[in-house]
Amino acid sequence: MATTARLSAAASSILAVALVLSVPTAKGSGLGALVGGIGVLLLVAGLFNGVSASITVATVAFVVQVGIVSALPVTLSPPLWAHALLIVLIVEFATASFTARNRYVDPVLVVVRAVGAAVVVSGTVQVMALILEGSEMRGVLVRAAGVAALIVVVGWVTLSWRRSSA
């Protein structure tokens, strides 16, 4: 494995561990940390074994982790924008690690692209959070639609995983 690939994988793994360790565990929010932890384990295993689908699985785990923690009466830590920032950095570095295994990747370009994308996404999240502050999504219909969407997405992830493993 090239040096860029190793460093990117290490950076991605460290950021993922940091994200999960910073999540609160009080009042049942430990379940969120558990889901995130599974995501980290799969990401690290995927980076070691060359399974790129682990990036998708870890991203999903981190988003679900945010969902679980934000549904409980605990303060979300790290804040939402930091979550977005870390998720994008993890995805960018992990992707760069896989790319660098096959060909040359400019390390400066990797860092610039990762930081740029992360800052833009976290900024967007923060702006939207300020706009939507105080709003709630309640009701049976809304939840039913959400569960249906979840089933569809889980199916899609399973399909993607199979394709990438084939």
């Binding site: 689908a53 998708t56 969902g67 934000s70 995805v91 896989f98 370009l109 692209r113 999240v125 959070a129």
Partner: protein
């Protein structure tokens, strides 16, 4: 170019959709905010999916090359839209890119071209390592789409092959064939004819060229005498390269030395306008009849460079040798003499009147020291058997010498030339 989605696109799209779903399921906008931001990033990245059309042409490929040398090649790139940066990977087997013009060299074989508008030219200098016949390189060009959501890839496979010759070892001495052929060359033939080298005198016969009359001798003898001369001819040289290897032995360096010596001999004999033939004894025994000219020389070198060490089928080997090595050719065998069958082959060639010479490749460096007394005794017996084989070949009039490791290529040639000269004197 082919567009291949990167793992980040799948992660952003999936993560975004899951975020929206989870938000609806738990009734909190938090995951939806992250999900929508990730989806937005993916959508922006998807807009850069327009796959460019690209062509790449590698030209000015020199062949043959010599190992360790530096050669310039040109790469012409064309694209229907501006791209950058481009990563150009030269998949040249056992060849390093040493320097480049029009790009930045990273690693052993990748050149980064900062950007390309419509067309760009990149020049590279390559240095081949080791000899051999290699497939012509493939050139792979990579580029990233907007935000890196897709990887554009273009693979240009070149047909044909490149021949890399061993580093030139200059031979100051050469073995001269005992017999010559009918073509005009640099060797003094032992036959009589028109030439410049004086051979003998004989009485004038009707039809002799008056210019060949030796007037000084004729005036003393009071009858006409003419000079006889040796014509200048060239010789046929057939190289027999033994590339057989026993599986499980570490003797591939012997084949490497044989090929290096053969290449040096081919070059040197070609300079002296000898007709050159080649028999390679490897997994597939192949031969080339003695011939001259640039295309023949190229073909001979290509066969030599494509030698693949392997087990020899002796029936095929004998047929190959019988076809290529015929009188008046001089056969120079480059062998490790590990297989006694080769001794038999030399013997049968000598019996049929062919001028055979053997340069034996030293195998001692490949042998591990004997571990115990029994092995030591076995080694001594083996060495004695090899000595006996050499003595037998020498007694049959086959000059043989061992080319020791570290010796220049001239040394065994000088020893053989000395042997052949004294032998020629003995024969008169």
């Amino acid at each position: 170019m082919t567009a291949i989605p990167t793992p980040r696109l799948r992660a952003y799209v999936t993560g975004g959709l899951v975020g929206l779903g989870v938000a609806l399921a738990v009734g909190d906008p938090g995951p939806a905010l992250i999900g929508s931001a990730l989806l937005a990033l993916a959508v922006v990245g998807l807009t850069g999916r327009i796959t460019p059309t690209m062509s790449a042409r590698l030209d000015q490929i020199p062949s043959p090359m010599v190992e360790g040398g530096e050669y310039r090649m040109g790469l012409h790139l064309e694209s229907d839209q501006p791209l950058g940066p481009l990563y150009v990977e030269f998949g040249i087997e056992e060849m390093d890119v040493v320097s480049t013009e029009g790009g930045r060299l990273v690693g052993a074989s990748t050149v980064v071209v900062a950007s390309i508008e419509r067309a760009a030219d990149v020049a590279i200098r390559v240095s081949p390592k080791g000899w051999g016949r290699r497939d012509q390189s493939s050139v792979t060009i990579y580029a990233d789409s907007l935000l890196g959501m897709f990887e554009f890839r273009h693979v240009r496979s070149e047909s044909g092959h490149v021949v890399v010759l061993p580093e030139e070892s200059f031979l100051r001495r050469l073995l001269s064939p005992l017999e010559t052929n009918l073509h005009v060359g640099e060797l003094v033939s032992n036959k009589r004819g028109s030439g410049s080298e004086f051979a003998d005198l004989r009485p004038y016969q009707h039809g002799d060229d008056p210019r060949s009359i030796n007037w000084r001798v004729s005036s003393r003898a009071r009858s006409l005498w003419v000079n006889e001369r040796h014509p200048e001819r060239n010789g046929d040289v057939v190289l027999l390269v033994d590339a057989q290897m026993e599986s499980g032995t570490n003797t591939d360096f012997v084949v490497d030395r044989s090929v290096r010596m053969a290449a040096a001999l081919l070059r040197a004999h070609a300079r002296h306008r000898h007709r050159l033939g080649l028999v390679t004894l490897d997994g597939s025994c192949r031969w080339i009849y003695p011939g001259m000219g640039e295309s023949h020389r190229r073909r001979t070198l290509e066969q030599l460079m494509s030698v693949a060490p392997g087990k020899v089928i002796w029936d095929a080997a004998e047929k190959a040798v019988a076809r290529a090595a015929k009188r008046p050719a001089m056969v120079i065998a480059l062998t490790s003499l590990l297989d006694p069958n080769l001794g038999g082959l030399m013997h049968s060639m000598r019996r049929s009147g062919i001028d055979v010479t053997v340069i034996e490749m030293d195998v001692d460096p490949a042998l591990p020291p004997p571990a115990d007394q029994a092995r030591s005794l076995g080694r001594r017996v083996w060495i004695m058997e090899r000595e006996r084989l050499r003595d037998r070949l020498a007694s049959e009039g086959i000059p043989i010498t061992v080319w020791r490791s570290g010796e220049p290529a001239d040394v065994p040639i000088a020893r053989l030339e000395q042997w052949r000269t004294s032998w020629r004197r003995r024969l008169g």
